[in-house]
Symmetry: C2
């Protein structure tokens, strides 16, 4: 029987998914280090298959299904990186993937899903419509719902990015990841704290979508913020599973302003010559702009992805 | 006595400059390979110190100066990547660098030179004014003119990028580099042909700045084209030294349209998640868009740099 997410499960996930994903490089930059006053180690999930870390969790979830369940396929509702990741993970196992996407999802996101052979069902752009549509498909097909983060196998898969980072870079003082639904941050925190209890773990979140910050402060799940953020991958809210993991293992949630997100993104593009999406910049901003007492520290930063519309940049 | 550029000199240059430059990675992309119908190996000089390959030649030239000459410093006139590269190479040796820049040079380029401790002298934005200003400085200081490409030590330094590529990737059929003044292409052709006589070498050039194409066809140095190109690093023309090397060792010059340059740049940013400048895209465009019979071939492409104004993108 599968147990809850822990280091052993993350190690098992890594072994399971390794043949289907990239081992992404860890980048450093001396000019970025000068700017930040710390030594920063960037885990480049923007170079990951499908352009984001999401393929780790999706692949682990799909490969963990028993054959009898798997053959009925998988379902999710997502307008973002999880959609393409699940389509690709399903294609690699040779099973169908039904992806419920809001009718206003960007064309590029739809093309990515179709490119991996996913079957798109469009719906009204509301959470209620997405869930209802997914339920209809589930009932019709008997397929398996693969939630983007409220799923232990997904969390374990996402934890493999931190596992690789910690294998490669020694003596880190702090590991930072963006937080939205909390799948990546949960996996990151489990891997980090079980390997090195003394490494701090911080989640970074847009100020405009700061439900994790408020939930950690109040001790109960707070609703989504109303404001918009450029970090379109970070608009989801924690679920009970990820919230409980975060409360136990994450030291701090750091809100990041829209201006800082854009400035961090531009700085990393300019100096490191890599394309990262706004959600990835959220995790870099606090270290870049000295919001934490990171001076002299060795900081691991998970750059979550590199998918964005080049025709619509904020600078 | 130093001899003309050959493989031994390139090997010596590599040993000389290795402590001061990055060994840049070679990137591949399965989706890019699908698009091109060939196997492409990208030598990522956009990740090089100063953001371009130019630091290789500048460092080799500066380190090759005898102490008595070196202490008087170095001079060049450039509005591009060579300016920052020479400033940085001089700083590493602890000697002054005077950089003559046109008054309309982008602020970012000036800041890069100043950041490395270079001393900027501004002049009217004409070649005559640049050369006259450099001459005045040379006479006043007794410093050494380091031309961006009409210099054997610079050519040998630029050849080290191909040397690294060929060490890392076996069985290449074709190596491609952009051509402007011809320093990079000369060094690339020498390294490639002396290591593997049967590998083809192609230079890629904007159609709008196609003097190398015309010169190779007519057999004499043709003047610069009048039209503008987005590939701002590729507006120089061959000199007798680089022309003679190209005639002997380059198989083909491929003109690339402005539309192809922009499309190649966008494709590489989107799919490979790396920031490359238009001049680098010029070398990738022919392989990406099947202008060469590269199907099934293994093609090495030197991505020359990643410096550009993010606030002024062509897409």
């Amino acid at each position: 029987m599968p147990t809850g997410p822990d280091l052993n499960a993350i190690r098992a996930a890594h072994k399971r998914i390794a043949p289907q994903i990239h081992r992404t490089p860890v980048f450093t930059s001396s000019t970025i280090n000068e700017t930040s006053g710390a030594q920063l180690f960037f885990k480049c999930e923007n170079f990951q298959t499908t352009g984001s870390f999401k393929i780790r969790g999706a692949t682990n979830a799909v490969l963990s299904l028993p054959d009898t369940d798997a053959k009925r396929g998988v379902v999710t509702h997502s307008s973002g990186n999880h959609a393409a990741a699940l389509a690709r993970a399903a294609a690699m196992r040779g099973i169908p993937a039904w992806i419920v996407m809001p009718s206003n999802a960007p064309e590029a996101k739809k093309m990515a899903v179709l490119g991996y052979g996913g079957q798109i069902t469009e719906c009204e752009p509301t959470l209620a419509a997405r869930e209802a549509t997914a339920t209809v498909i589930l009932e019709r097909t008997g397929a398996n719902l693969i939630h983007p983060y409220d799923n232990p196998r997904v969390i374990e898969g996402q934890g493999t990015a931190a596992l690789e980072l910690l294998e490669e870079v020694s003596d880190l003082d702090l590991v930072m990841a963006p937080v939205s639904g909390g799948g990546l941050l949960s996996g990151t925190a489990i891997a980090t704290k079980e390997l090195h209890r003394d490494i701090r773990v911080a989640g970074c979140e847009p100020q405009n979508a700061d439900d994790a910050f408020r939930s950690m402060r109040s001790g109960k799940l707070e609703p989504a913020a109303k404001a918009e953020t450029i970090a379109d991958g970070l608009r989801a809210t924690l679920c009970p599973l990820t919230f409980s993991i975060l409360r136990e293992r994450v030291d701090e949630i750091i809100p990041v302003s829209e201006e800082e997100i854009i400035a961090a993104m531009k700085l990393i593009w300019e100096r490191m010559k890599i394309v990262i999406e706004p959600s990835a910049a959220v995790a870099a901003a606090p270290a870049l702009f000295r919001k934490l007492s990171a001076r002299g520290n060795r900081v691991g930063i998970i750059l979550s992805g590199g998918n964005l519309d080049l025709g619509n940049l904020p600078f």
